[in-house]
Amino acid sequence: MELTTILFYLFSIVTIGAAAVMVFSKNIVHSAFALMFALIGVAALYVLLYADFLAATQLLVYVGGILILILFGVMLTSLGYTFNFRTITVNLVPATVLSTGAAVLLIFAFVTTEWKITEVAERPDTVYDLGMMLMGDYILPFIVAGVLLLIAIIGAILMSTRLSAENKGGT
């Protein structure tokens, strides 16, 4: 068995296990950290798929950014009045049925489909190519994405400030 195979299974199990912990944990903080491991596992899978740049981005943006953001959200919303992070579930039965159904259906579909597989040669480095593509074919999406981020940041800030203003006014 090759190293990549072992790594694949290892990270697959880490990813799925962490995701499961995230979903089923009753403590929201545990969920957040489990999500972090899941995202790291995904990043590792990216590496196995020869997407090193994306793996790095995943680590930076998700683990570094989004996760911190989520943790902040957890702190801000729940910490204020209760230390009980436990949550209750709703729609448990339909959710279970539907998610299992989705998994079964998807796996069935994936396994039965005849994929046209073209083996791509190993890519030691994708950063250069990606950079070229961003500046080439994907220039427009790239700019739009930038604008989107800007708007999102401005919007988030705006909402947060109005919130604090309301808080001031309210109290």
Partner: protein, 678 residues
């Protein structure tokens, strides 16, 4: 002449009944004179009819009839037939009935339902005369049942006593069992010959017509008709009602349960004699013999004066039936006539004794001693001389002692059975006949001795007994006179030379030749050849029986208790009437009780259960339909608008406002689409 006169004879007692039942209580003396007078008139008319018939039209049978009803194309007629048989029987019935009427004036003097009693006597006489006069088996059945009902009413005359009403019920129901057979026999005859009249039936049979084309059915019809006689004449196995019927007033027992009604069975057999096959006659003969034997053996051990007489009646009826069965037609019928006289006398005598005992006991304020138990009697000879001497004559007659009427007829019967056995080899019949003759002499003298002779058990009481009034003793004397030989034949040792034998001749058998009993000339010859032997033997046996009774009860040479012990099982069987009542009680009475309880349970639980179950189902159904009505039909009618409203409300349930629920729908529909397009 032969229409109006018999009709008058028939209807006079009915008139008495109607007058007494409606106006009896308002008439002076409660109308007993009316009943007795009308009955006497009937007697005179009957006597006149008999004499006229025998002199003017001997050997003819005269009938007249009218159409009773038309059903489909068949006409059913009713009518009257006078032949010598009927004319003689008419006199017997009216005579005994008249005497009983007079006797009852004394016996029933202080009865609460005095007029009712005489009314019922009239009803009975009417029905009995109907049996005698009819030319028609259906009409005979009609009167047959009417006799049964008047017997029922009279047995139950003292209906306050439970035993009396029980006995009445028993009598009627047991008779019904016999009538059931008779009814079926009548149906067979009618369906085969489309007529009910005797003459037409006989004609059809002699013309070779057979019921349902089979000879077996003819025999069956004969035996079935004989079933009626079995019931009415208390033959084995339906004899059980007669002893119980003694619950009725004693004159009633004399009239109905000794002289006339029970003899109706014999009369019936005599009437249908021409259609009886040899097989049927053999059955009849054996039934008669068995009855005679059983009843005689029971009579030996009974202590109730009326019960002894009742069993002796059964026994004598068995004789008559046996006589008819063996073909000694005239002898059998003659025994009926002579028996009517002496047995009525015996019962009336017993009535006189009981009457005296009652009066004596009443004087002593003794209400526990049984006035009918012969163990309480004894020594009455001196107290009631008239009763005693007449009773003695009756006893001699029934025992078959020469110079009495009973000797004449019994002797002929015994000769007949003997002749029958020489012809056919049935030795059992004469054997039983002679045995019963001996037994009869024995138990009758036992009764006589215990009642009138010897020392009284209770001197004081016996001294209180006085002779009955004239109105009661004169009928006894008349009957005693009639129990002597010269009324029937001037030759004390040969009945066949008398007027009776010439008047009553055995009719020709009408059945196909192969099934006929021995022809009369043959039979007559056989009888004459054994006659002297039979006579001698019967005198000897009767004498032996009398001597035996004297030895045991008069001279006390032999202890009765000792004899009883020796007899062992036989004695206890006899005392308990061979357990017939017990067996019938267990089998039929309890059996029908069990059946009726079972059927009642079945009816109330199973059938009704099914019905109630279906009711429950219907109830459920109605609820369902009610629900449909209120919710669907009403909904359509009332709330088309609210339907829309409700539908909106129903849909708005989907609109929970919860994002996750929406998501559930989204994903669900997505998956559905996925599956659909995969």
């Amino acid at each position: 002449m032969f229409t109006q006169l018999p009709l008058t004879i028939l209807l006079l007692p009915l008139l008495a009944f109607i007058l007494l039942i409606f106006f009896g209580k308002r008439l002076p003396r409660q109308g007993d004179w009316l009943a007795a007078g009308l009955m006497t008139l009937t007697l005179l008319l009957s006597l006149f009819l008999l004499l006229f018939k025998l002199n003017a039209y001997p050997g003819e049978s005269i009938s007249s009839s009218f159409d009773w009803v038309v059903v489909g194309s068949q006409t059913i007629g009713f009518g009257i037939m006078i032949d010598n048989l009927a004319a003689v029987m008419l006199v017997v019935v009216t005579l005994v009935s008249t005497l009983v009427h007079y006797f009852s004036m004394g016996y029933m003097k202080d009865d609460v339902r005095y007029s009712r009693y005489f009314a019922y006597l009239g009803l009975f006489s009417f029905s009995m005369l109907g049996i005698v006069l009819t030319n028609n088996i259906l009409l005979m059945y009609v009167f047959w049942e009417l006799v049964g009902i008047s017997s029922y009413l009279l047995i139950g005359h003292w209906y306050e006593k439970k035993s009396a009403s029980n006995a009445a019920n028993k009598a009627f129901i047991v008779n019904r069992v016999g009538d059931f057979g008779m009814f079926i026999g009548i149906m067979i005859l009618f369906l085969s010959f489309s007529t009910f009249t005797f003459e037409a039936i006989f004609e059809s049979i002699s013309a070779g017509q057979l019921p349902f084309g089979s000879e077996g059915w003819l025999t069956a019809a004969g035996i079935l008709i004989f079933c009626g006689a079995v019931g009415k004449s208390a033959q084995f196995p339906l004899h059980v009602w007669l002893p119980d019927a003694m619950e009725g007033p004693t004159p009633v027992s004399a009239l109905i349960h000794a002289a006339t009604m029970v003899a109706a069975g014999v009369y019936l057999v005599a009437r249908v004699f021409p259609m009886l096959t040899a097989d049927a006659l053999l059955v009849i003969a054996y039934i008669g013999a068995i009855t005679a034997l059983i009843a005689a053996t029971i009579a030996i051990t009974q202590f109730d004066i009326k019960k002894v007489l009742a069993y002796s009646t059964i026994s004598q009826l068995g004789y008559m039936i046996m006589a008819l069965g063996v073909g000694a037609y005239t002898a059998g019928f003659m025994h009926l006539v002579t028996h009517a006289a002496f047995k009525a006398g015996l019962f009336l005598g017993a009535g006189s004794v009981i009457f005296g005992m009652h009066a004596a006991l009443h004087k002593l304020h003794d209400h526990d001693t049984d006035a009918q138990d012969i163990r309480n009697m004894g020594g009455l000879k001196s107290r009631m001389p008239a009763t005693y001497w007449t009773f003695l004559i009756f006893t001699l007659a029934i025992s078959g002692i020469p110079l009495t009427s009973g000797f004449l007829s019994k002797d002929e019967i015994l000769a007949g059975t003997l002749a029958f056995s020489t012809l056919n080899g049935h030795w059992l019949l004469p054997l039983i006949g002679f045995l019963v003759a001996g037994l009869t002499a024995f138990y009758m003298f036992r009764l006589l001795i215990l009642t009138f002779h010897g020392k009284p058990v209770n001197e004081k009481m016996i001294e209180g007994v006085t002779e009955s009034p004239k109105v009661m003793t004169i009928p006894l004397m008349i009957l005693a006179a009639l129990s002597l030989f010269f009324f029937y034949s001037f030759n004390p040792f040969g009945a066949s030379s008398g007027w009776f034998y010439s008047a009553i001749e055995r009719p020709l058998s009408m059945v196909p030749e192969l099934m006929q009993p021995a022809a009369y000339p043959v039979f007559y010859e056989a009888v004459s050849s054994v006659h002297s032997f039979a006579m001698l033997l019967s005198i000897l046996i009767a004498g032996a029986g009398v001597l035996m009774a004297l030895a045991v009860y008069q001279w006390k040479k032999v202890s009765a208790d000792d004899l009883a012990k020796r007899a062992g099982v036989l004695y206890s069987g006899s005392v308990n009437k061979w357990y017939f009542d017990e067996i019938y009680d267990t089998v039929f009475v309890n059996g029908s009780h069990v059946i009726m309880k079972m059927l009642r349970w079945f009816d109330e639980n199973i059938i009704d259960g099914i019905v109630n179950g279906s009711a429950v189902i219907t109830l459920i159904f109605s609820k369902v339909s009610g629900w449909i009505d209120t919710n669907i039909v009403d909904g359509l009618v009332n709330g088309t608008a609210s339907t829309a409203n409700k539908a909106g409300g129903l849909l708005s349930h989907i609109q929970t406002g919860k994002v996750q629920t929406y998501l559930v729908y989204v994903i669900f529909s997505f998956l559905v689409l996925f599956v659909l397009f995969l």
